[in-house]
């Protein structure tokens, strides 16, 4: 008789990490465990377990002295005791003392593994800080906990989706553009970063996807810092349409003599005192280019500089239904 070698071809999409896999690493035992636990004292009689096991429909009870877990007594221990006719034995003489436990702050994935490996139905949960019994975890608790969490996440996603997709739909116009304007003061390092922070918060409130917001925020920050470091001030304007976010940074001097050179990573004309503050690393324009889908930089020495970047919202905001026709 030959045995087929067990070769497992990966299921489609096996390399993708599912939401559930992500959650079992992220969630902790104490987020799903049952805390209204039934316990018995080691000095209880085995006969007293009868009602407990039947009425609560449970298959095992932690044995607790004070707040400390000293053992676990299961329905099997009970049946064995019953068949031996020794129901007047004390719980402490029939319980199992080597109890496998979990700490309350362990990730769920560990509980899942232990359930798999040992085939137990439940683990008592111990507080790592106090050593006291704080709960019991079963496979059912894990499933319920995960479902609940997925439901919450889904709900949040729905709200988020609603905001992003309906913000523009609720506006009735042939063409919609929202404009946000910010003044940037030159050489004022204490206020620097206010524009990009403010724009970020505004976009977040509109329900723009976080990934897009981060790209816009980084590009805007670098543009803002360039105005603060090198000029006497300027203005940043953000235009938001259903299709894209366009940010324009304009200042009135001193201008960039060699744009090609300025675009090289690490090239900087910042004075030493500015560099000592951690600015002027020559990465600003590089960062902007990395974040933007399109970038345009125009400058005239002595007159000023105009930078325009755009980040596409394609598909992120539901407004392009006509594309499918």
């Amino acid at each position: 008789m030959t045995k087929e070698p067990e070769e497992r071809s990966p299921a489609p999409g096996e390399k993708d990490i599912t939401k559930v896999q992500e959650l079992v690493y992220e969630m902790k035992v104490n987020q799903v465990m049952a805390t209204d636990i039934i316990t018995v004292s080691p000095h209880n009689l085995m006969s007293e377990l009868r009602v407990l096991l039947r009425e609560k429909r449970i298959s095992g009870v932690p044995v607790v002295e004070g707040t400390t877990l000293v053992g676990l007594v299961s329905i099997e221990d009970f049946i064995k005791c019953l068949s031996e006719g020794k129901m007047n034995n004390l719980v402490k003489d029939r319980m199992s003392c080597n109890v496998m436990t979990m700490y309350d702050d362990e990730p769920l994935v560990r509980a899942v593994e232990e359930f798999d490996r040992r085939g137990y139905g439940r683990f008592p949960v111990i507080s790592r800080e106090t050593g006291a019994l704080v709960g019991v975890i079963t496979k059912g608790d894990i499933i319920r906990g995960l479902l609940k969490r997925i439901e919450i996440d889904y709900h949040e996603e729905e709200i988020h989706h609603y905001r992003a997709s309906h913000f523009f739909e609720d506006i009735i116009a042939d063409k919609t553009t929202l404009i946000f304007q910010y003044k940037v003061t030159g050489k004022d390092f204490s206020r620097a970063g206010r524009t990009s922070s403010g724009l970020k918060r505004t976009l977040r409130r509109m329900g723009i996807p976080p990934k897009i917001i981060r790209r816009v925020a980084i590009a805007t920050y670098e543009a803002e810092m360039n105005i603060v470091v090198f000029t006497d001030g300027g203005e940043i304007t953000a235009q938001v349409t259903p299709r894209e976010i366009r940010v324009e940074a304009v200042d009135s001097g001193p201008g960039i003599p060699d744009i090609k050179k300025a675009m090289e990573p690490g090239f900087s004309t910042a004075p030493d005192w500015v560099r000592n503050l951690g600015f002027g690393a020559g990465m600003g324009l590089t960062n902007i280019r990395k974040c933007a889908d399109t970038m345009r930089l125009e400058s005239t020495v002595g007159k000023g500089t105009r930078l325009e970047i755009a980040v596409q919202l394609n598909g992120a905001v539901k407004h392009d239904l006509s594309n499918h026709h």
Binding site: F189, S190, A192, G193, R194, S196, S197, K200, R214, A217, I218, Y221, E222, M225, L277, G278, F279, A281, G282, M283, G284, T286, N287, K290
Partner: protein, 112 residues
């Protein structure tokens, strides 16, 4: 590991209220160049730096960092503190230089 645990284990001094110390720290980034932090740090990371001016709070806010640790016993400027408070970015200090602090952080949370 959450920020509060790291603060406790390394004896960091928390300088402002309002920040969320229960945030999970996903890693650490060490740099004093703001553009570099802007480009290469990741959401949820702790930032180790010797810069103390208010703009570090803007960078941390924009990149959704878990907090800022100032090394070498450096103290934040008053405006920095005020902005950290306003933006709810945890600001901490340590007497250790960056290298030693980074070593200890690596020991705690490893290669994140």
């Amino acid at each position: 590991m959450i920020l509060a645990t790291i603060i406790e284990k390394l004896g960091l001094e928390v300088k402002n209220a309002g920040g969320d110390l229960t945030n999970e720290v996903t890693g650490v980034y060490v740099s004093d160049l703001l553009s570099d932090v802007m480009a290469n740090s990741k959401e949820g990371q702790l930032w180790v730096t010797l810069q103390v001016h208010p703009n570090i709070v803007a960078v941390a806010t924009l990149k959704d960092l878990a907090g800022i640790i100032l090394v070498n016993g450096r103290e934040p400027e008053r405006e920095t503190l005020a902005r950290a408070e306003e933006e709810k970015i945890p600001l901490m200090t340590t007497r250790l230089p960056a290298f030693q602090l980074a070593g200890k952080l690596y020991g705690l949370i490893g290669e994140c």
